[in-house]
């Protein structure tokens, strides 16, 4: 792991070893996935989804926060407006994925598109965060992203089963601070990156703008607003060294 991540080369390695490392780095997230799966499963069961629907939703959507918000407004009697509404929720809550995908491009650009896009299709926040940390520490192997993403995707599908049946045990996710789980996960991943890079500007600007927007606008606009503001600030201010 001595390669400089800013060095551009024509090829990047894709190895099974890095894929295993990616999966291993995501092991700490497995308990959280099962607990979130239980919370999502509770809503699914309460709203009368069949087990097949719950499993398929985890497999195809694979985004806990969006699923939870959509399930809270899951209709009993459907029409096309309801379809539009749940798709709108998925858009609002998952807009951040546009930015996480964009941030991977400078690193993954040399990898074949036929490998990258399927992996991006099941990218989760945690797999993205682990990959960013791996890259910040000098890792360049695309296998890491693939291993982390596919491993956590399979874990999330598996989490739908106990979640659906025993989910009622976690009737209120707030009691266990599960509404904060993504903040905790990102904080844990960010801390070593920030300590290493000492690059506080995008963090401070991104956090301040996001907080201001979250106080003014409902929904999840604060995430893209803050992220874009922080990235722009870094581009305008210029290199630190």
């Amino acid at each position: 792991m001595s390669t400089n991540p800013r060095l551009r080369t024509a090829h990047i390695p894709i190895t099974a070893r890095a894929a295993r490392e990616g999966a291993r780095m995501c092991l700490p997230y497995v308990p959280g996935f099962f607990i979130m799966g239980a919370a999502v499963g509770t809503f699914a069961a309460q709203k009368g989804l069949t087990l097949a629907e719950a499993v398929i939703m985890n497999a195809l959507v694979c985004a806990a926060a969006a699923q939870m918000v959509a399930l809270q407004m899951w209709p009993g009697e459907w029409n096309w407006l309801h379809v539009l509404a749940v798709a709108g929720v998925a858009f609002m809550v998952n807009m951040r994925f546009v930015l996480s995908g964009a941030s991977l491009r400078p690193w993954l650009a040399p990898a074949p598109a036929g490998f990258v896009y399927p992996v991006l299709g099941v990218l989760t926040d945690q797999a993205w965060a682990a990959s960013i940390r791996y890259n910040a520490e000098g890792g360049r192997d695309f296998g890491f992203v693939a291993g982390a993403s596919i491993f956590l995707w399979l874990v999330w599908i598996a989490a739908s089963l106990p979640g659906y049946f025993i989910g009622a045990l976690i009737a209120d996710p707030r009691v266990y601070g599960l509404d904060l789980l993504i903040a905790f996960t990102f904080m844990a991943t960010l801390t070593p990156i920030l300590r290493r890079s000492r690059d506080y500007l995008p963090f401070v600007v991104g956090g301040a703008v996001a907080l201001a927007v979250s106080l003014v606008l409902d929904g999840f606009w604060f995430i893209p607003a803050g992220a874009v503001a922080g990235a722009l600030a870094a581009a305008i201010v210029g290199p630190r060294r």
Binding site: L60, V86, L99, S100, S103, L180, T191, G207, A231, A233
Partner: protein, 103 residues
Amino acid sequence: MSMPFEPFSYIGILAMALVTVCLRMTGYWIVGRFPLTPRFRRALEALPLALFAATIIPLAVKGGPAGWIATPIVAVAMLLTGKEAIALLVGVAVATIVRANGL
């Protein structure tokens, strides 16, 4: 619990999946359509830090005292142990204790 087959429910799930998968792919795709100038590269390199902050800070602030107390403790636990599993466990434990005390 046996429910009648509801095709709309599957259509709703598919619509959510389609939107989400498109979002996951478009950012990566769009960036590839533009030349990677030094300035653009700096923005993309800062993007993860900004995205982390833009998620953590509003969620922690809006999470009430549990968010205010537990989120910094996760960072401290991470600095002390270097283990994500321990940091996450400490965060959930602190948040549970704070909320159990009615805060």
